[in-house]
């Protein structure tokens, strides 16, 4: 029984080497193409739950907690939210309204980098959702795996 479990775990680990990079690439694709196709920061960032749960199922809790720390994720979320507010305040600094798109002429229509502040705000919201949802998932995993 014990040997069978170990073999299943090895199969999961080897298949994770293929699936995990593809999942993370898909996540960043959805975030970066938010202004060109359906999706965006919120929708792409939630995919990080799948990444963390796959890491947990394959490698166990101790490896996951060693790879991703809750404090680092929480601080990165704060940095991303400050960056969002700073990007929104750039409109006031340029003499326009809050959240005014002052960089909109950078890049051609349809390119990956176009839309000015829309692109950067999308990226900050994506980082924010990745770190926020990831830290909540890590917290719940730590509660499940606590030793009484």
């Amino acid at each position: 029984m014990k040997n069978e479990n170990i073999r299943i775990r090895h199969v999961i680990q080897r298949s994770l080497d293929i699936v995990l990079p593809l999942t993370m690439m898909y996540m960043f694709y959805i975030i970066l193409h938010g202004h060109l196709s359906p999706g965006g920061g919120f929708q792409g960032g939630v995919l990080v739950v799948g990444v963390i749960l796959m890491l947990y199922f394959a490698n166990g809790y101790t490896t996951t907690a060693r790879t991703l720390s809750f404090d680092l994720l929480h601080e990165a979320e704060g940095v991303a939210s400050v960056a969002y507010v700073a990007l929104a305040m750039m409109g006031i600094a340029a003499g326009a309204q809050f959240c005014e798109n002052i960089l909109y002429q950078s890049g051609n229509i349809g390119d990956l980098y176009s839309g000015g502040t829309i692109f950067w705000m999308n990226l900050t919201v994506g980082i924010k959702v990745i770190t926020g949802i990831g830290s909540i998932t890590l917290l719940m995993l730590s509660i499940v795996n606590q030793k009484n």
Binding site: L36, P38, G40, G110, G132, I136, I143
Partner: protein, 120 residues
């Protein structure tokens, strides 16, 4: 004194909200819905049949001037991050509140502080 200040601030917020609601009810409508003559089924089968030249109000700005104003192809993203960026900021700050709240609850449970009284 603290209670008094709380009640005063709540009353001010309530009064301002009622005044804003009355003002908004007196304003003219931005969209009458008169130009929505194409049924949804026909629109889904042939999107070219949608006549966006007769859009009025805020819809006209988003439909007709989106590419000129934002250079973003996806209209929904330009609404979420440009026209209503302030709304998205509050929406994103909900996440920090959620993380902080669940951290408070779950860390107290992890340390065994919160559930001692419940067990006994």
């Amino acid at each position: 004194m603290k209670k008094f200040l709380t009640f005063v601030s709540l009353a001010v917020i309530l009064f301002a909200g009622i005044m804003a609601a009355v003002r908004m009810a007196q304003m003219p409508r931005t969209y009458e819905g008169q130009n929505a003559t194409v049924p949804v089924v026909i629109l889904q089968q042939s999107p070219d049949s949608y006549n966006d030249s007769t859009a009025d109000g805020a819809a006209a700005v988003i439909v007709q001037q989106n590419l000129a104003k934002t250079h973003a192809v996806n209209d929904v993203t330009s609404v979420v991050f440009d026209f209503r960026g302030y709304d998205t900021m509050g929406e994103a700050f909900i996440l920090i509140t959620a993380v902080a709240g669940s951290a408070v609850i779950l860390f107290s449970k992890k340390a065994g502080k919160g559930d001692k009284k419940d067990e006994e």
